[in-house]
């Protein structure tokens, strides 16, 4: 266990842990803007909608005589079906149904289709496990070096794009009409944010799993919000929390093979949130209780009680 945390349990495990940490930074930072634009649940629908794409991509690659487990191929399928899911959410939201109904319907239907395709994969693959179950709750066991490199590289790319887009994203998040006046299109900025979110979701599929990846987007950002009121700082702190959670989660999962990575990372992120909610200065519960107490004393003194 300590070996894994200190990068002592082999080159591959270390690489996977570092990849997960980079993913955590990207997820936390992107999540800060997802929270500001109130797109948390849309990203959840997108994540669940990747499942049929993963299954179909596996079937297609096997049909063409390929390996089937090529991560880049699986992620391409995932991206396509997630985009389809996003389109479906938008289309359903144009009816009289409220957006959260559209999100729930798309999330569950696509996930259902994915489960059906996974059973097809199992039947066709009889006996040989395809390893696609790892995409549900994440698993770093048996991850290839190329996969870890892909995740680390992708995380770095998402971060770079986020850094380049930080100004329009912040402007649109706080005052969309003003941003429009300044020549920043809210529609395109939101589309870019969704693209970055999709990037995080795809990179997180293998490590965190599609059911819980939304937590790596929103929980560190929610925790970070306790510490500061500045959007840039929220993104930075959330990235830090995400990195620590991703790193420890991946290392733990490398040491305890049966443990799915996603739930470990998510529980760690929640612990970070609880600590932040308790101990953060100004907005934390303890700080607020103290300041209430101080105010009461001051009022009491002023009134001579």
């Amino acid at each position: 266990m300590w070996d894994a945390l200190l990068l002592q349990s082999g080159y591959n495990a270390a690489l996977v842990s570092i990849g997960a940490a980079l993913l955590g930074i990207a997820a936390g930072a992107v999540g800060a803007f997802v929270n500001l634009r109130r797109r948390a649940l849309v990203s959840d629908a997108m994540a669940h909608a990747t499942l049929p794409g993963v299954g179909l991509a596996f079937l297609v690659m096997v049909a063409f005589g390929g390996e089937g487990r090529n991560l880049a191929g699986l992620l391409t399928g995932a991206a396509l079906s997630a985009a389809l899911g996003l389109w479906a959410v938008q289309r359903l939201s144009r009816t009289r149904l409220p957006e959260d109904t559209a999100i729930g319907a798309v999330l569950s239907t696509f996930y259902g289709a994915g489960v059906v395709i996974l059973t097809v994969v199992q039947e066709l693959n009889a006996g040989r496990p395809a390893g696609l179950e790892g995409f549900l709750l994440g698993s770093t066991a048996g991850m290839l070096r190329a996969d870890a490199m892909l995740i680390a590289g992708g995380g770095a790319t998402v971060l770079l794009a986020l850094w380049l887009l930080r100004r329009p994203l912040t402007m649109v998040a706080f005052d969309a009409p003003h941003a429009r006046m300044m020549g920043v299109s809210p529609t395109w900025t939101d589309a870019a944010l969704m693209l970055l979110t999709l990037g995080v979701v795809l990179l997180g599929l293998r490590v965190v799993g599609l059911i819980l990846i939304v937590a790596l987007l929103i929980t560190p950002a929610t925790a970070a919000r306790m510490w500061t009121n500045r959007a840039g700082m929220v993104a930075a702190i959330a990235g830090g929390i995400g990195a620590v959670c991703g790193y420890i989660g991946a290392a733990t999962s490398a040491a305890v093979p049966d443990l799915p990575t996603g739930p470990v990372i998510v529980v760690l992120a929640f612990a970070a949130f609880v600590l932040s909610a308790l101990f953060a200065p100004n907005r934390g519960m303890i700080a607020r209780a103290l300041s209430r107490l101080r105010l009461r004393r001051k009022l009491g003194a002023a009134h001579g009680i």
């Binding site: 109130r38 259902g112 929980t219 909610a277 907005r283």
Partner: protein, 305 residues
């Protein structure tokens, strides 16, 4: 289509239908109150509730599972409210933080306690285990009249029947206040209806229905049963009574259709084995919703205000 049908297909059909009915009923009100995500949250938190209850009591009987799930539902409501208030984030993010954390905790509890094997395992939580609920004692249609054979029915049927009856009874009994509070909460409050209590009751009913559906379709596909049939009905009528009745029809159709398609279509098209029935139910309900968006007056063709 004789003894085999009665033993292997009839029990899953009944269980799926009962679960779908129990979910669609409260789902109607959730959608109208723009609380579809409450259904999403409840569907996720059922897992830790059931696992914790099982670990504490060592029993997997319906009342114990119900109690555990209700406790988890209450805890999650408190957590969502607390996070919203203390962290100052929007409801969607607060829900996302809560239900991912609780689901993750449930998975970890399950993996670490090795409670697997009895009635619970992670696969079950992700896919449901509809196909495994079979009736060993059935020898043919005559078994339906044979008391000894009937005693061998999967125990889930009786439990589910009770839950469905309870949900239906509650909706029938509180129809008027529930309807008034759903459409005009402030008027309902002035008229002396305890709106808060009613709202909590609806969440409770949703949790009850989610427990019922959990054994059949697993956590995530429960969302399909809660949301898709009522959403489909909502696109077809303006009358609440008609909407509820239609949603029951669609719930039944998707449960029966999904189970039959999953069991009988793959062999017809020359595929080995069968595909996941619970996944197919979700897909069927989603396809119905997609078709309903083409409805003449209330679908996509009419721009909504």
């Amino acid at each position: 289509m004789g003894s085999e049908f009665v033993a292997l297909t009839l029990p899953p059909l009944i269980i799926a239908t009962l679960a779908a009915l129990a979910c669609a009923l409260p789902g109607n009100f959730l959608i109208l109150r723009r609380q579809a995500m409450v259904g999403d949250a409840m569907a996720h938190v059922v897992l830790p509730g059931i696992v914790a209850a099982f670990l504490l009591t060592g029993s997997a009987s319906t009342p114990v599972m119900l109690a555990g799930a209700m406790a988890a539902a209450a805890l999650s409501s408190a957590m969502i409210e607390g996070i919203r208030r203390f962290a100052g984030v929007e409801t969607g993010a607060a829900m996302g933080v809560t239900f991912t954390t609780m689901f993750a905790a449930g998975v970890l509890l399950l993996e670490m306690s090795h409670a697997s094997g009895v009635h619970l395992d992670v696969e079950h939580a992700l896919y449901g285990n509809l196909e495994s609920l079979i009736w060993f004692d059935a020898t043919g249609w005559a078994s339906l009249l044979d008391p000894t054979a009937l005693r061998g029915l999967p125990p889930q049927i009786a439990g589910l029947g009770m839950v469905t009856a309870l949900v239906a009874g509650a909706v029938f009994l509180f129809w008027r206040p529930l309807t008034i509070a759903t459409f005009d909460e402030s008027f309902a409050a002035t008229a002396g209806i305890p709106v808060k209590l009613l709202s909590a009751g609806l969440v409770g009913l949703t949790a009850l229905a989610a427990v019922a559906a959990f054994s059949a379709v697993g956590s995530i596909l429960t969302i399909a049963m809660l949301i898709c049939p009522p959403a489909t009905a909502r696109l077809l009528t303006d009358d609440l009574r008609a909407q509820v009745v239609l949603s029951m029809v669609f719930a039944t159709l998707s449960a029966i259709g999904g189970t039959l398609i999953a069991g009988y279509v793959p062999p017809l098209i020359g595929m080995p084995g069968t595909v996941s029935a619970s996944g197919m139910i979700a897909v069927t309900s989603g396809v119905m919703l997609a078709l309903a968006t083409f409805a003449p007056r209330r679908g996509l063709t009419t721009p909504q205000a």
